[in-house]
Amino acid sequence: MHIDPLEKKWMYVVGLITVVMVGSMTYAAITMNMHPPSNVETIDPKTLHLSGEFTEDNLGATTNEDGSITVRMIAARYSFYPQMVEVPVDTPVTFRITSPDIVHGVHVPFTNMSTMVIPGYISEVTTAFPREGESQFLCNEYCGLGHDYMWSKLKVGPKG
């Protein structure tokens, strides 16, 4: 086995690059609790509209006792329901989203409000929007021939 001295130096550089990158992600995960949306929770996509958390009356934003917001949404071909959501700026918002039909994805551009929506499971993302204004939820997973038309509005309003 023969290793050139130059190769050895390069291996140290590669090791250092890897340690710095993995280290910074681990640091962010542990100290800032930054993880991708990963709550493992199931729901029957065939009956979710009939009773429980995702019936029509329960959709949209509600304010919790501690002042945080919970937004319940349905991602279904070809929109997000309700089609207009309004939340206050700089306030923790927890989105709970599920799908009665097929796989969708939801992303608000320039923010970390992003998750896949898989029928049979409930997706949950918690974030806060730092700027007021109007923005969009865009479906970012192919969900059929009308995929392009799947989007809805998000309005970030004044606090309180």
Binding site: V14, A28, P36, V40, L138, C139, N140
Partner: protein, 539 residues
């Protein structure tokens, strides 16, 4: 080279490049449709049928047939003997080809517009799933052929070092068997019985988990032959030697071991997997960057050696001294350039946190077109130029045209993918056929959409030059008697290597244990969780 291996190799390569050419035509149609500048050609039905076909032709057909054809050449010329079984090689070809035809019919007629990632509970025609499975079964026969060729050679040559190109090819065959098991389980236990109506519902969370098992390592299955060409063909064509045979083996082993148990980085945004397993897979994902960083070093060091032998002086003088009239040299340098650019984007995608901002945006499409369409495919094209005279016994029609074609391919790929990266950062979702959103964002996207059409036109022109060159060469009458023994020699050719660097038993054991942890436990958890199933949906 042995005639029997030649004919089966060239049959595979022609299928690969025919698929490639059709797919590039579809690609140009897609950027034109998507830009919104040509309303008369816009059609959602045609667009998504086209995207599905484009993905299957390039991701499954070009790659599988190229890898099979190149493997037969590698096995018979490095081991200097007939294939283990020529009949089996033809059987692999016929099974894979019939699967391709069977899948192509529903794809082209719009009965399988589910994209090459399948996405249940969208349901395609059963012939699509069965055809795609047959293509994979054909590739398994090739894996058997490669593994048995190496095993029987080792039996006849005890204590000898397996030639590097064949060691890499065998590593790829073993890796592909591990890799393809995920999608095979999805097909056999979920999609095929469900599409035939034998099951009423399917669990998309489980299907996505199984697909992710295949989805990452499949790109290393594609990339492996590109690396093999960089290590074992490029240094000699450039006029130098391979910097290190041992480091190349270590890179191949790391690719084999680390590629498969890391697929959850495709599921970062999925609700059906917990954060702990996503984090575990993230660690492996950054591990698999290591063999690529080692490859970049060894290949560049080999090229530097070649440049200095040709009289290059100074820190960068060797670059100008390289033989820039050689297609393989041009492709090698351009491939590494695109690998650096695309690898940077890949680090962002693989990041446990930053991925959130770019997930499923056009950034991702830009990333994999740069790495796959750029780095991998340009090495396939250069390898074809290298192999054609050897396989057909005729001179390459035009080396100058080949060099120009490779430059155009790189320029086209950059003009196509750099705007896509920008669009992704500007929030544009991937896999859309138009941009009907009522948002000021859309105006910011427009200039990038024009650029991507220019990229598509350059790429189609380049693909046309490529196919034309191969056709003219194959039909020409100018005979060529090139040596079959054109494999690069290392600066220090290995006389003896440690046993684990000449065999795979240890590595298979490590993969098995790692896979039980990384995929076994999450899959058992999903089976226990037993999420309510989804009915089938059309598109």
């Amino acid at each position: 080279m042995y005639d029997k291996s030649k004919s089966v190799a060239i049959a595979n390569l022609w299928v690969a490049f025919a698929a490639f050419f059709v797919a590039i035509i579809l690609g140009l149609y897609q950027v034109a449709n998507r830009s919104g500048l040509f309303p008369e050609i816009e059609s959602h039905e045609r667009y998504f049928a086209s995207v599905s076909t484009h993905g299957v032709l390039l991701g499954f057909v070009l790659t599988t047939f190229f890898i099979m054809g190149f493997g037969y050449y590698t096995a018979s010329t490095t081991l200097k003997r007939q294939l283990w079984s020529s009949n089996l090689a033809w059987a692999a070809f016929l099974v894979a080809l019939s699967g391709t035809v069977m899948a192509a019919i529903p794809l082209l007629t719009g009965h399988a517009s589910v994209l090459y990632t399948f996405y249940p509970p969208l349901k395609a025609h059963p012939a699509f799933y069965i055809g795609a499975t047959l293509l994979v079964v054909g590739s398994w026969i090739w894996c058997l052929e490669m593994i048995m060729s190496t095993v029987s050679w080792k039996r006849d040559n005890p204590g000898q070092v397996v030639p590097l190109a064949m060691y890499g090819t065998t590593a790829n065959a073993i890796m592909w068997l591990w890799t393809s098991a995920g999608v095979a389980i999805e097909m056999l236990f979920q999609l095929i019985p469900w599409s035939l109506g034998l099951m009423s519902t399917v669990d998309p969370g489980l299907a996505r988990t199984l697909f992710s098992w295949t989805l990452h390592a499949i790109v290393y299955f594609w990339l492996f032959p590109a690396y093999i060409a960089m290590y074992t063909i490029l240094p000699k064509v450039a006029g130098g030697r391979l910097f290190s045979d041992e480091m190349a083996r270590i890179a191949f082993i790391m690719l084999l071991v680390i590629s498969v148990p890391i697929g959850f980085h495709h599921l970062y945004m999925d609700p059906q997997q917990s954060a702990g397993f996503k984090f575990l897979h993230m660690l492996g994902t950054f591990g698999v960057a290591i063999p690529t960083l080692l490859t970049g070093f060894t290949v560049l060091a080999s090229l530097e050696g070649a440049g200095r032998l040709r009289g290059g002086k100074g820190l960068f003088g060797w670059i100008g001294a390289l033989d820039w009239k050689q297609p393989m040299v041009v492709a090698g340098m351009l491939a590494l350039f695109m690998l650096i650019a695309g690898g940077f984007g890949g680090m962002v995608n693989a990041s446990y946190q930053m991925n959130t901002l770019v997930h499923n945006t056009q950034w991702v499409t830009g990333h994999f077109h740069l790495i796959f369409g750029g780095t991998t495919v340009i090495m396939y094209l250069a390898t074809a130029y290298f192999l054609w005279p050897k396989l057909t016994g005729r001179q390459l029609a035009s080396r100058g045209m080949a060099v120009m074609q490779l430059w155009l391919w790189t320029i086209g790929m950059l003009v196509l993918t750099l705007p896509w990266h920008a669009l992704g950062l500007l929030g544009q979702p991937r896999r859309i056929s138009s941009t009907p959103y009522d948002s000021p964002l859309v105006e910011q996207w427009d200039p990038h959409e024009v650029a991507m059409i220019v990229g598509g036109v350059i790429l189609l022109f380049s693909a046309l030059l490529f196919v034309l060159n191969l056709l003219l060469s194959h039909m020409s009458k100018k005979a060529e008697n090139e040596s079959d023994d054109d494999w690069a020699v290392a600066v220090y050719p290995p006389m003896h290597v440690p046993k684990p660097m000449n065999s795979f038993a240890l590595w298979n054991g490590i993969i098995a244990v790692w896979m039980v942890v990384a995929y076994g436990i999450p899959i058992v958890q999903l089976l226990i969780l037993d999420a309510p199933g989804s009915l089938a949906w059309g598109y």
